[in-house]
Symmetry: C2
Subunit: 408 residues, 2 copies
């Protein structure tokens, strides 16, 4: 097998038509941080009165921009807010220089956009361990500010890409108290892809009004069931960041709206799935649904053990209904399991039941399911009511080619 496809075979046919979110404007520019001949900086400015919430990597070696965002998130303010993102350099593991770069950029954005520095959030994604040449970013801030536009979100989705094979966007519209509100978001990342170190970055905007603490609660809860439930290769980035901004421009307070909560979940889940579908070398989208565990936490531990198993991921690549490897992954997960109560299905095909191969198991039917583009592995522990669903992709020659065959 040669080079992986230039665009993931799991990519959507096209970038979606994302709605304008009132109160948010975007601009992109080519700053030359690392890539040449393409926009590599994105600026988003949120109107005064916006609230901002976010979730970030729990890595112990997380990058300077992540630490800065985390420190700023709690602060409520009536002022506007800005998000500045560069691709090509992660500003991670750069010591005091990294902190100085964040300070220089946020200070300059604050001055240029007339926004308090405490409301300027930044992300950086790309190679790690290299000093961020922040001057080239500061130099284009005036042009970025002058070019802000309400319909620039597609360009923003492209500017934050590193080795992504397609730009990722999702949106939802939902009525809250009879008034429509809009949610639109973008993401980059395909796990910890090569050649250097990629990250997952997600930005979601809504014109609903949502109090900061309510927004943070929603985002935190949904992160656990969306972005924290995907894995490409089990390697956790130093820069993963999700930031959600609510401008309130619709005039509708959605802080208590179940419909808004569900719509936000839908956008987050769609973006999470798109990240998996751009997993390096991926040819199959895989859902692992675990039920009957002793607890939800146990279910997720089993599901992640299955989703991260190289042997299961290679079996899926080979379209092999190798359920013995699922038994193995449940056994090694560390969560409670009873071998003789375990049941496994591939799609609708019952493969194993009560600790042994199902009496009516059909290898042909299971093999037919494995030939599809979306693979569903269901596991029931038979122990209790705990459940969890996670998503991953297969492990192919493309992954090796991307990560081993070319020097970074």
């Amino acid at each position: 097998m040669g080079k992986p496809a230039p665009v993931s075979p799991l990519a959507p046919a096209r970038f979606p038509d994302l709605p304008v979110v009132e109160g948010v404007r975007f601009a992109t520019h080519a700053a030359g941080v690392k890539y040449q001949g393409r926009d590599d900086v994105m600026l988003a400015v949120l109107a005064p009165g916006s609230t901002v919430a976010g979730t970030f990597t729990r890595s112990a070696t997380r990058a300077a921009p992540v630490l800065d965002c985390q420190a700023k998130l709690g602060g409520a303010s009536d002022a506007g807010a800005a998000i500045l993102v560069n691709s090509g350099n992660a500003n991670a593991f750069t010591g005091k220089n990294g902190v100085a770069s964040v300070e220089a950029i946020t200070k300059a954005v604050a001055a240029t956009c007339d926004i308090p520095q405490a409301r300027v959030f930044t992300s950086s994604t790309g190679v790690i361990g290299e000093p961020l040449p922040h001057d080239c970013i500061v130099d284009v801030l005036g042009q970025l500010n002058a070019g802000l536009s309400a319909d620039g979100i597609k360009d923003a989705a492209q500017a934050i890409m590193t080795t992504d094979t397609f730009a990722k966007g999702a949106s939802a519209s939902v009525e809250v108290n009879g008034t429509p509100v809009t949610i639109a978001g973008i993401a980059k990342g395909s796990g910890m892809i090569a050649p250097d170190m990629a990250t997952m970055l997600v930005y979601i905007f809504t014109d609903a009004a949502v109090g900061q603490s309510a927004l943070q609660s929603m985002v935190t809860a949904h992160t656990d069931t969306t972005f924290n439930c995907i894995t490409v290769d089990s390697d956790t980035s130093t820069s993963d960041s999700l930031i959600v901004g609510a401008t309130g421009a619709s005039g509708v307070d959605a802080s208590e709206s179940v419909a808004f909560l569900d719509a936000l979940h839908g956008v987050m889940q769609e973006l999470a799935h798109l990240v998996v579908k751009d997993g390096e070398g991926a040819t199959k989208f895989v859902e692992i649904a675990v039920t009957g565990a002793a607890s939800d936490a146990d279910a997720k531990q089993h599901a992640m053990s299955i989703a991260n198993s190289p042997l299961i991921k290679t079996a899926i690549a080979g379209e092999d209904p190798n359920w013995g490897r699922v038994v193995m992954a449940v056994g090694k997960s560390g969560a409670a399991a009873d071998r003789d109560l375990l049941s496994i299905r591939f799609g609708d095909v019952q493969v194993a039941k009560d600790g042994w191969r199902s009496p009516d198991y059909s290898e042909e039917e299971a093999a037919a399911h494995m030939k599809g583009e979306t693979i569903v592995i269901g596991v029931d522990l038979g122990l209790g009511g705990g459940k969890a669903t996670v998503w991953t992709c297969d492990l192919t020659h493309g992954y090796i080619t991307i990560n081993a065959d070319y020097r970074s």
Copy 2:
């Protein structure tokens, strides 16, 4: 890249000349469990007075022979002991049928070899979820018993192979109270290799006399620093088993001997390294040495996070000194780390120091180290005295080819 090499490039030039261990005899036979045209059953019989110790997989879905061995280990006895191993079928996830197969085999071995059934240990390795055709094993027990020979250990090492690319053996001789004692052992496995489910099996024999509890203590302690410190692909078998038998035929009690303890450790470490060197698709042998951690447990957690990272393993395959990925793996491990105290070396090349790229880092020197067959990654956390060393191999196209390209 096409099919992986028929024999691992990391294999030793030849199987070592293992010494005869007085009090142990071996026989092998072709029972036709799954493979045709080769020996697939191994019988080892230990003389009366032998002690037996062992360690086994902690998988929650472990196989019937493993559970049987674990139940029998504690029992002291003056009787002899027997170990019966088949390849081709793991007798794992086979429900009550699996238990019945173990019962049938151990009962027949006991009768044939005149050994109490409580002293008959079995292992099975190969495909899982298929009933073990134990009759074909029972049928050849008479021939096995008749063919027992003190110098049959090399044939035994070959009979227990599944998809291993070479047979694995190691030995040591050491003086205890002025008298030489001998240790010889064999192993099979290359991690959880495909096409079905492989296992790691290890059998070590000595003519020293070692009390059962002393032997078990030695084996347990050494397992933590040898077999529990290797990983090929992070996937844990349902059948991993290590059994050590001490016949006492040398007349020397080594229960308190530090020299014996060290020699046993050497044999266990050598066998563990040989398993890594037969890791599927492996082209590099990798040592991860972590120092300066808050505790030994933390050091091992960091080391295993590095050793199991697909991005680090592919970087090694690509001979890329990608130290950013080491930072990432330390960050995600969950053990204590301070980004700004972290130091990393590749071989003797200091790559990162105190949280940033080392001022005198030479990319050329690091790249030169990566071209070797043995790669050493050193990580110092700068936090305390905790340390651990683990071993792994690289992740190559060969791994994908073995596990994905062919249906099991």
